[in-house]
Symmetry: C2
Subunit: 354 residues, 2 copies
């Protein structure tokens, strides 16, 4: 995981905004730190990343990001332990996934050392911004978008890679109520659902709003062909516990290969929990909810960590999940956050000290 | 179609760039006129549009357009006749479609009079920019994007509506060679394929590049489920002529309801051409190509107008289209452009004088 040392140029902000931030009342992703990483792709290559004061971006109205949705992002978090040491969780997985997304969206891949070294340098500079209030964290947003110009529907010739930080509270507060969707869809076979592409998110806003209007927090998407199988929740992969077996849908070109998802599968294996990565039919869920074998459902993702689901709705019927002792969701959450915050041994090699 | 008169505030550019433009050598969509329409959505409503000098846009790095692809656009053209009168072609259809796209992408709809009146005012101001070289035109790009900030994956609270003009040459030069795609897909059932959403375009760039590398200009998408039926070409709807019957795929939530497409169907009806709007199997195309009944294929869209297809490729075999006398493509192109340039009677009520 070690990358060669780079000389990242730093232009420091004249003043800090940190004194104006109430770290005890953070929302998700609406306060930003003093600096950011900026790296431009021009004339066929990525320039060396720099750290500059957090500042507005200026683009021509014809910049392709405005017209053709050519953008990708990642979500990560940084953690501080009792010794003020800073930790990242599986950061190279995010870097590699960003480049998988890049390829599918015809965006030039970012060199791994540009990503890792600039991220670490920014974290060192912004270390005082890492919240230590329980439930809060420093959310990290690396993203790339098409900054090149023109109304021709073709890939841009220029791109910007940016890393920005947002000290953030919880993504969801409390348990989550989800609606299983069978009219609208998130992604197509052979489409871009596996990529963290901007357009995958905008397409979910309207159906999600319809679900919110009915009292749900999120939608669980089903396959666009039959709507018989659950896929993911847009900002989270979905796990189901039937009796003692943990189920999750297999990744595909329609489903994001979540890093929290991947971590849960590893932990389950090491804990001896039976796991099935396979298609999960809505009918199976409903049968299990009715006969009492459905013990838990939860979402998993970097922003939401692990979000227990209290209720799922399908065709105007709500199915409540029981309170299950020795919950898998609680076990996985403790195990993952203990590694993230350096409170436990990291037997998987997931933690990286900055 | 008449809308109430609005008082559009105009801030004129100090100098014009028009003298620097070679109107005899225009590419598509990379030269922009001196002014643009800007209209902001803030605090729950659209402010009155203004005309300002064409200038860069400044956004926070957390603006949702960079992260969640929440953007939509339209493509239109303005035409000048021999009397220097300016014409639009079915502009309200573009306005209404923009709002159909807006709804699906959770973007607030733009008032129709804001769209129409600001467009007409900008056209009057920029009338000298409308090219009169054959094959060139003034391309009009109305678009809306999420300018509100935040890393939470939810609709923005602020948006920008912009209209910009680009005097442009032809989108394609000459006949087009297309590849029928059966691995990658453009859109899902229940997805956003019918909307002119930014992300629909970025998702096509990589598969299109693979086709370009094999010597094709464009991809014809098939349904994501079976890949047995042709859908559209991303920047064009597709028409097929088998013997004397004109075929095109029906619109759906996966296929853009093209205004050129709609116009062709009307003209065909008035010309007595037999039309079938129905699913077109790839196997049917290949059979027709082999037995000689496949007479023509062409794409139809605002940017490309009508683009005859010379060859389609499928599974490493190329099928050449014959030279067909009395081509439908030529008939439709003449009929549509004659109406657009005020060279013929407009029996359909499509032309609007600015």
């Amino acid at each position: 995981m070690e990358t060669k040392t780079m000389n990242i140029k730093v232009e420091k902000a004249k003043t800090s905004k940190i004194g104006q931030v109430d770290f005890n009342n953070l929302a998700f992703g609406n306060v930003f730190t003093d600096h950011m990483v900026v790296c431009n792709y021009k004339n066929g290559s990525w320039e060396v990343p720099e750290i500059v004061p957090y500042h507005p971006i200026t683009l021509d109205p014809s910049a392709k990001i405005f017209h053709y949705g050519q953008s990708i992002f990642e979500g990560m978090k940084a953690y501080k332990d009792g010794n003020d040491d800073i930790w990242l969780f599986r950061p190279m997985d995010n870097c590699k996934r960003l480049n998988i997304s890049a390829k599918r969206m015809a965006i030039p891949e970012i060199p791994e050392d540009y990503f890792m070294e600039s991220l670490k340098a920014l974290l060192k500079l912004e270390k005082d911004w890492i919240p230590q209030t329980p439930g809060s964290s420093l959310y990290i947003r690396p993203f790339i978008f098409a900054s090149g110009n023109g109304f021709h529907a073709s890939p841009a010739d220029e791109y910007m890679f940016i890393i920005a930080f947002a000290p953030s509270g919880a993504y969801f507060s409390g348990k989550v109520k989800v609606l299983i969707e069978e009219k609208y869809s998130r992604s197509a076979n052979g489409g871009v659902g596996f990529a963290k592409a901007g357009g995958n998110y905008a397409g979910q806003f309207y159906p999600t709003q319809l679900a919110v209007d009915k009292g749900y927090n999120q939608v669980i998407w089903t396959d666009d062909n039959t709507h018989e199988y659950i896929e993911e929740a847009g900002a989270m992969n979905i796990f189901v516990r039937i009796n003692d077996t943990l189920l999750t849908a297999p990744t595909s070109d329609r489903i994001l290969d979540g890093i929290t998802r991947r971590s849960i599968l590893k932990i389950a294996e090491s804990e001896g929990i039976p796991v099935e990565e396979r298609k999960i039919a809505v009918s199976e869920l409903i049968k299990a909810a009715k006969d009492g074998s459905l013990k838990e459902m939860f979402g998993a993702g970097t922003a939401a960590v692990i979000s227990p689901i209290s209720t799922f709705g399908f065709r105007d019927v709500d199915y409540d999940l029981p309170e299950t002792p020795n919950s898998y969701a609680a076990l996985f959450k403790k195990c993952i956050t203990d590694i993230q915050y350096n409170r436990a041994e990291d037997n998987f090699g997931w933690r990286l000290k900055v």
